[in-house]
């Protein structure tokens, strides 16, 4: 019974196994990036970048159909363009970066959907936006593993500079930390992770696996390291639950995984010891000192 529910789907179906392995790999890399975005008060930037890759993916689709390398390259190019462009645009025109980001991502989403609708069917549109485990072929799996590995290497190198740059940018600059370099590296890897994830969970849903575990983890830990561990744990559990639910109940995989992560977030919001609602309204007796 338990075997049928939990193990059999993965034992029987190769595509589901590939999706599981690929998503688990991204669970190690995307949530830590989400934690850093959150700490930089850029929680919505991931969302913007996820929309930003869409016209690139769509262009790849128009030119080459559902062929993985074209989709990934297109998404990567468009995402990097939005990530770098929004900052540059804001600086050049004296506007606020959030305004530039909002303009870019609305444009990107509309352009992407228009392009895909123009040449594709509704099924393909749904697949590109919300993902399909059937889409995870060997090339996609390699991309997911590669993105996760590259991210982990980057985080190992950039860990201290990123934290210092978030906490006290002036001090970082004074001791010679090149904050903008690490910041751009972070944004680039956010794009790479979103592109890697979109086959399995869709371009709009990929960001859910990045941000929801991160903002949930905030309620469980008071240090960056602890937050990252909790976020990764939540993402792993959400992926497993989401994929199984998607298989058993015939749901699209992306929203299923994101909903599982969202459940973890809501539980954290309510029960988490750090700024959770329960600790706020039922604080317990005050301490001795």
């Amino acid at each position: 019974m338990l075997w049928d529910a939990l193990i059999a789907p993965f034992a029987e179906f190769g595509f589901l196994r590939r999706a599981l392995v690929g998503c688990l790999a991204l669970c190690l890399s995307a949530p830590p990036l989400g934690v850093f975005l959150m700490l930089r008060r850029m929680s919505l930037t991931g969302d913007v970048l996820a929309h930003g890759i869409l016209p690139g993916v769509a262009l790849g689709f128009v030119l080459a159909g559902l062929w993985m390398p074209a989709l990934a390259l297109g998404g990567l190019a468009a995402g990097l363009l939005v990530a770098l462009g929004s900052g540059a645009l804001a600086r050049a025109t004296g506007g606020r970066e959030d305004a530039a980001l909002a303009g870019l991502y609305l444009t990107a989403l509309a352009a992407g959907v228009t392009l895909i609708s123009w040449r594709g069917s509704a099924v393909e549109l749904t697949q590109l936006l919300f993902g399909s485990v059937l889409g995870v072929d060997d090339a996609a799996l390699l991309l997911m593993g590669g993105a996760a590995s590259a991210t982990l290497v980057f985080l190992a190198i950039a860990w201290r500079p990123l934290i210092l740059e978030c906490f006290d940018p002036s001090f970082a600059k004074a001791v010679g930390v090149r904050g903008s370099v690490w910041h751009l590296g972070l944004l680039a890897l956010v794009v790479v992770n979103l592109v890697a994830a979109f086959q399995a969970v869709g371009s709009l849903m990929a960001v859910g696996l990045m941000m929801l575990p991160a903002i949930a983890a905030r309620h469980w830990a008071r240090e960056v390291g602890g937050m990252v561990l909790v976020a990764v744990g939540i993402a792993l559990a959400a992926t497993l639950i989401g994929l199984l639910a998607s298989y058993h109940m015939d749901l699209p995989s992306g929203p299923a995984i994101v909903l599982a992560a969202a459940a973890a977030w809501m539980a954290s919001l309510a029960l988490g010891p750090v700024d959770g609602l329960l600790s706020r309204y039922r604080p317990g007796r005050h301490l001795e000192g």
């Binding site: 700490l39 190198i157 201290r160 210092l164 906490f167 006290d168 002036s170 001791v175 008071r222 240090e223």
Partner: protein
């Protein structure tokens, strides 16, 4: 620990084209203890940031500050105080010159010692988000202690602190002075300046006066400083003063 003489000559620091510091020249002797006094918007923070290498001067020169020889205490408003970091880790950044991005920290017991020295015994594992403004300022002083720089720049080090905390941190400044470090501190409390700082720079975008504190803080000079800082021209012309 004898830093070289710091020579600031004809320094202009601008935000966009507006000068925050305008054609300023002064000297800080090795081991000097100097207060920077002036009205809000006088360019005090901009001066310190330029001296710390955070803001490139538009014009003029700052001599005698080698890279890595200077430590800056920023105003607290510049920092993210809610960041999830323990006091220990926040102070640890003072050893960045030794640890950098990857290396282990030699002699980590120095961190505890620095926390003890600023009166934060046992605070190592506390998150900085849980600290009061005064305790947070002590953490920043502990970081400065570890930076161990011969030149120390303090931007409003005693603002909004209770008497006890201010006195403790002033003790740290005195200790630095005794060790022969050069110290430049932005301050608003003129009583404190008269009592503790032998030299003062009175700033109002331009240097009004620099030298022995009592002479610099004359009523006449302070009035001049106030008049200068209130002069803001909507349609200021490009500055024609000789760049030399």
């Amino acid at each position: 620990m004898t830093p070289p003489e710091i020579l600031v000559s004809n320094l202009t620091v601008a935000h966009g084209r507006r000068p925050a510091v305008h054609h300023l020249s002064f000297t800080l002797k090795p081991g000097g203890l100097m207060a920077v006094v002036g009205p809000n918007g006088a360019g005090k923070s901009s001066l310190l940031r330029a001296m710390a290498g955070l803001h490139a001067p538009t014009e003029g020169r700052i001599e005698g500050i080698a890279p890595g020889q200077v430590a800056l205490l920023p105003q607290q408003a510049m920092l993210d105080r809610s960041f999830p970091l323990t006091c220990r880790d926040a102070v640890l950044f003072g050893l960045w010159g030794e640890s950098g991005a990857f290396r282990a920290t030699p002699r980590p017991e120095r961190i505890e010692a620095a926390l003890d020295a600023v009166g934060l015994h046992g605070f190592a594992r506390r998150p900085v988000g849980s600290l009061s403004a005064g305790q947070f300022q002590r953490v920043l002083f502990a970081r400065l202690l570890l930076q161990d720089a011969p030149i120390i720049l303090l931007d409003e080090p005693f603002n909004a602190l209770d008497a006890r905390t201010a006195a403790d941190l002033l003790g740290v400044v005195r200790r630095w002075h005794g060790e022969g470090r050069s110290i430049l501190a932005v301050l608003h409390d003129l009583e404190l300046v008269r009592r503790e700082f032998p030299e003062t720079l009175l700033l109002a975008r331009e240097g009004i006066a620099c030298g022995p504190t009592e002479k610099v803080l004359s009523a006449e000079n302070r009035l001049r400083a106030r008049m200068m800082s209130e002069a803001w021209h909507d349609h200021a012309e490009a500055c024609a003063r000789d760049a030399a």
